[in-house]
């Protein structure tokens, strides 16, 4: 029998259930659906952050602006059923399930560095599929130059959306060649388990050479277009957040120097580390931006 997404036992449930079980029975309580991803040559060999760190320090303003708010408030989000609307300049527009987009046999483990524009960083073991494969499934038409993404709007389950702090829904976009790059993935899991809600369940984008805000969470809509899409942070403050948002230690955000970063979980006096160009993925992605002035296209 093939396990479907709906067969995943929510983590809270199995942890809860486990707490009632005896030590012997705890063996049985191993997750109902552990996600396994094939190891990838694109993974970093840096040590990943702990699950606790990754799931308790999040920017996901749909659940509040505090770093702990998503862990606190995302539990009520219904992630099953879920569908992603793929439309625009594609051959096969329609509604796709998470299983359609990221079938178990296609999953890969991608251990990536994540760099936030606020100058902190983590290393995260994602489970997911290349975005290029997903877009190919929908059939990208030759006229498509950009990909636009949208997050769910459901204020009754996403308390942050009851305030007009951002122009909901959260929107992000990539140029088509960026979207087709092998490093860009759609993640459905984290540490051999389904993606926790606060990390963007059930399916999110991960673009490791860009600041974290480009990696839009809880995606419900993907649209292929011929013009550059609107992006939430760029709309809000274009002088601070560009469309590209490539990690670049030489181009400073007006309020945060981007030259260095703090690795989350490194301890009180671990200090800072230098931020590498394109978050350390320059060898793979620098070619995408050849001839572009990155101080203008930030």
């Amino acid at each position: 029998m093939k396990l479907k997404w709906s067969d995943v036992t929510p983590k809270a449930d199995y942890l809860n259930r486990r707490s009632f079980m005896t030590a012997a029975a705890a063996l049985v309580a191993s997750p109902a659906l552990a996600l396994t991803g094939k190891p990838s040559g694109l993974s970093t060999d840096e040590a990943p952050n702990t699950l606790e760190e990754i799931t308790n320090y999040n920017n996901f303003y749909e659940f509040g602006t505090g770093k702990e708010d998503p862990a606190r408030h995302a539990g009520n989000l219904t992630t099953d059923p879920w569908s992603v609307e793929i439309g625009g300049l594609v051959d096969r527009p329609g509604s796709y399930s998470v299983d359609d987009l990221a079938p178990a046999n296609a999953l890969e483990e991608r251990i990536y560095r994540l760099r936030c524009v606020e100058a902190w960083s983590m290393v995260i073991p994602w489970i997911g599929v290349p975005l290029a494969g997903v877009l190919d499934k929908a059939g990208v038409q030759p006229g498509a130059k950009f990909v636009a993404f949208e997050t769910l709007v459901r204020p009754e389950e996403m308390p942050g959306q009851s305030r007009p702090i951002l122009d909901w829904p959260y929107r992000e976009g990539l140029r088509i060649d960026e979207a087709m790059h092998p490093l860009a993935i759609l993640a459905t899991g984290l540490y051999d388990d389904a993606l926790p809600n606060q990390n963007g369940a059930p399916i999110r984008l991960v673009v490791p050479w860009k600041y974290g805000f480009k990696s839009i969470k809880s995606i419900v809509k993907i649209t292929l277009t011929d013009s550059q899409p609107r992006c939430t942070w760029q709309d809000l403050q274009p002088s601070e957040y560009g469309f590209y948002a490539n990690v670049n230690p030489e181009v400073n955000h007006p309020r945060w120097s981007q030259a260095t970063e703090r690795r989350i979980g490194s301890g009180l006096f671990a200090g800072r580390q230098d931020t590498p160009m394109f978050n350390g993925y320059a060898d793979q992605v620098a070619g995408l931006y050849q001839g572009m002035d990155l101080t203008k296209n930030y």
């Binding site: 606790e52 320090y57 702090i165 400073n252 120097s257 989350i264 979980g265 009180l268 200090g271 800072r272």
Partner: protein
């Protein structure tokens, strides 16, 4: 009524205010040692110290309007409140230098010059420093009462800069720092609106 309260207040030694003011610091140390600060303690330590500094600065600013409106006098504690605020501000800056920036002096210097919210915060801190080192009787004598009072008007720009520093450091307009700025503006407005104390008042309150 005010006289009764003032009677009780007179019995409170100034060191008791310092002791009370150490509670937020003790709680912060406790939370740090017991892991109560979550996965990124540096940010919490830094932000809590900064917020506490601002709260004590507001308390310092509230002394005069409170006296003018209710005739309850906390004047005896005002110097301590100001110095406590500076102590928290100094710890806030120290945590930024050591924990957040890891003693990267070069980057700190360029950041302070270039980033508006850091310029604001650092200017406020320099002003508070000037106030703290002159918060003693011999400075009042040396500067003269009028000169000393003129210098200590720096608390008004300092508190405004500190409050804007907080608002500007965030990515969005958040409620809490805006409320705090509102409270500061109300306190400053009260000084202008209620110049003279209501009714009669013993003249000796004017000292210090």
């Amino acid at each position: 009524m005010a006289q009764v309260i003032n009677g009780y207040l007179r019995r409170i030694p100034v060191w008791a205010v310092w002791l009370g003011a150490a509670i937020p610091l003790a709680l912060l140390v406790w939370d740090t040692l017991t892991g109560g600060l979550g996965v990124e303690p540096v940010r919490d330590i830094e932000h809590r110290l900064g917020r506490t500094a601002l709260y004590f600065l507001i308390a310092t600013l509230a002394v005069t309007p409170l006296m003018r409106i209710t005739r309850i006098s906390l004047l005896r504690f005002r110097r301590a409140l100001g110095l406590i605020s500076f102590t928290y501000a100094a710890l806030h800056v120290a945590s930024w230098i050591s924990m957040e920036m890891g003693f990267l002096w070069g980057q700190m210097l360029t950041d302070v010059i270039k980033r508006p919210y850091l310029i604001f915060g650092m200017s406020a801190f320099v002003m508070l420093f000037a106030l703290a080192v002159t918060s003693n009787d011999s400075s009042i004598r040396r500067l003269g009462a009028a000169g000393w009072r003129r210098l200590h008007r720096l608390v008004y720009p300092a508190v405004l800069l500190a409050s804007i520093h907080w608002i500007w450091a965030l990515k969005l307009w958040e409620t809490k720092p805006l409320l705090v700025l509102g409270m500061i503006l109300v306190l400053l407005a009260l000084r202008v609106l209620i110049r003279r104390p209501l009714g009669r008042r013993p003249a000796k309150v004017q000292t210090n």
